[in-house]
Amino acid sequence: MAVGPAQATLLLGVAILLTALYLQTESFVGPQIRAIALQSLLLGGLLTVLAAEQGSLVLAILAGLTVGIRALLLPYTLTRQAAAFRLPERELRAGRRVRGHALAAVLLAVVGGGLYLEVIGPAFGHPDGVIPFLLLLEGLLLMASRSNALVRVIAYLEEENAVVLLGALMAAGFPILVESVVLLDLFGVVLTAGFLSLHRTATGVPEEGFVEELTG
């Protein structure tokens, strides 16, 4: 049975969502970096399908940039940072709470999906926006529920993947100039976060740090 562009888009979208759910259940940093790389690769694939379907050069360029920067360069940078800064390879607290995180992620997907399909989607006339919407929610949950420096950067990458996916599905892609600069900006955030991680480790702030001056 041949798979058409619509089915391919849906399959890739669901696969992206599954990587988001996997990220919530993983407490080791290495597999998380590989998972976000896979998510970005799937996103690149989805953009390629859309580019072929619409005959859009802009989306094709965006697909190339997504694979090059989000799926290859940024995960490579994160892997180097994890090794260079000797960051804990496993989040201890997250490791103890992995089942709770998984449950929260699934609940969020169910509630968020219902909200989008019943309220938000009809307002926009775009039911296919449900996957980027859920991806954004899962990214926010990952950011809020974890304390490891690199995992939070990964959560930010996931949020940005949601924006790219939304732009591609609902808005036929942002203008390419904007997308390109956003990618550069993303790189800047990752490098800055890495630099801060280095100093955070060097100045002795623990993974779940408490700094008296920052209370109140």
Partner: protein, 475 residues
């Protein structure tokens, strides 16, 4: 002679950028001189905007109007004040993560990113500018490399970037709905108001509101403002928060005056709640810089109320942003001097500061009054105008919330400040003899003078610029 707006805006972005690039390659002394010169010429270019044409565009990327001009003056002025106050501060930092040259490079980059945000017409480009400010200013926040400042910078990057991702999500939705992200084109020909656009504005409120420090997305603000070097705190509070608010204002332009599905009420409510929560949080603070950070949050909340109400209240909001920026610049400059003198930012550890540093002490006290809406400072007039606007619209609940906010914030800020400056007891941290130099009072003195002149309405062109920026249509 009237310089074309395009030239002025390119100068505004170009000079701080050039200063940033130079700072990366030259020795500290030269970097400081270049930064000072660049900041002054940038300020002159911004002031020329007020007397030149107030609307224009260049090649579809740059775009500006009276509102952009006003915010550019604000950013340029704060950039100049912070740059000129920096050398004194940097001299007192023992250990640093960055060299002074890099500090000036980042300061220039920070100003350039804010000015670029104000200079473009595309909302997505504004987002990029705003995100760039996060990257650059986070490195400035951790300048002195203490665990608290590094942790504050870390939280700032994560929370602000995470919030801005929601803002970008809103922009993607807007692009899908309206087919354009040109703020000026959308304002001139707004798309039909739909529930989808209401969601866009609500998401933008969350996304860009994170960068403004609105409740409950404000967690980064007190950390970053209190841990940054004092000149950077001034820039964060007086220039960055208004710049983020400016981007939201551009999106809020889409909301119709009536029948907005409760959007206006939502914006006013979030503003009032932010102001009220921040005012109460000023009580019990242990650090005076953190105290002023919450005061910034309170002022942004009040400004958002004015923006939400629109009309003459919008005029009040813009006036408040201007007055607050200069008053807060003075407050943080004095805080920096206090930190240098006493070596502590703990309120309980500073007593009798005015006896050893009478001029700075007096300026500090007056700054506290200026940021809490005391006459004759500009914030008083601004808050009065916002209250008048709320009364005219029959928003009595908002008026009550603002009155409580103002009273609580006045006590919450000025009581501990009074104890630190006026107390007869002297803390052991103070030097045995007066060590105050005139240099330390120049920047806060100028900033406070401007805050006062704003209140007295004695700054040429300002009232007219504010009136045009707010859209006119009121007495």
């Amino acid at each position: 002679m009237i310089v074309p707006g395009e030239t002025l805006w390119l100068t505004l972005i170009g000079l701080p950028t050039a200063s940033a690039l130079a700072g990366a390659f030259v020795r500290p002394g030269l970097a400081e001189r270049i930064a000072r010169a660049a900041s002054l010429v940038t300020l002159v270019a911004a002031l020329l905007l007020l007397v030149g044409p107030s609307r224009g565009s260049a090649g579809g990327i740059l775009g500006w109007d009276a509102m952009s001009d006003l915010f550019a003056v604000l950013v340029a002025a704060l950039y100049a004040l912070s740059t000129w106050d920096s050398a004194r501060y940097l001299g007192s930092v023992r250990a640093s993560a960055l060299s002074p040259s890099t500090y000036y490079a980042l300061l220039g980059g920070f100003a350039a990113a804010m000015l670029a945000t104000l200079a473009v017409s595309d909302l997505a480009l504004m987002w990029i500018g705003l995100e760039a400010t996060t990257v650059v200013s986070a490195l400035l926040v951790m300048y002195d490399r203490r665990p608290a400042s590094v942790e504050a910078a870390w939280r700032y990057v994560l929370i602000a970037s995470g919030g801005l991702a929601v803002g970008l999500f809103a922009l993607a939705l807007l692009y899908g709905e309206a087919g354009s992200l040109d703020a000026f084109a959308l304002a001139a020909h707004p798309p039909a108001w739909t529930p989808a656009l209401a969601l866009v504005v609500a998401l933008a409120l969350v996304g860009f509101g994170t960068k403004v420090g609105l409740f409950p997305m404000h967690a980064w603000l007190p950390d970053a403002h209190s841990e940054a070097p004092a000149p950077v705190s001034a820039l964060l509070s007086g220039a960055l928060l208004p710049t983020a608010l400016y981007v939201f204002l551009r999106i809020y332009d889409l909301v119709p005056p009536t029948g907005a599905l409760g959007l206006r009420e939502l914006v006013v409510g979030v503003g009032a709640l932010t102001a009220l929560v921040a005012a109460f949080l000023t009580f019990g603070q242990r650090s005076y810089k953190r105290l002023f950070a919450y005061s910034s949050m309170e002022n942004m909340g009040i400004a958002l109320v004015g923006i939400g109400l629109g009309g003459i209240a919008l005029y009040g909001a813009l006036l408040l942003l201007v007055a607050h920026a200069f008053a807060k610049s003075s407050a943080f400059a004095c805080s920096g001097t206090a930190l240098q003198t006493t070596g502590t930012s703990r309120i309980d550890s500073v007593r009798g500061f005015g006896r050893r540093s009478p001029r700075t002490g007096a300026l500090w006290l007056l700054s506290g009054l200026a940021v809490t809406g005391t006459p004759p400072f500009g914030s008083f007039a601004a808050e009065l105008v916002i209250l008048t606007g709320a009364l005219a619209q029959g928003a009595y609940g908002v008026v009550a919330a603002l009155v409580v906010t103002l009273g609580v914030a006045f006590a919450g800020v000025n009581y501990p400040l009074g104890r630190m400056v006026l107390s007869r007891a002297e803390s052991p941290e103070l030097p045995s003899e007066a060590t105050e130099s005139w240099l330390s009072t120049i920047v806060p003195g100028i900033a406070l003078g401007v805050a006062l002149a704003v209140g007295l309405g004695s700054i040429p062109y300002l009232t007219g610029a504010l009136r045009i920026a707010a859209g006119g249509g009121f007495p």
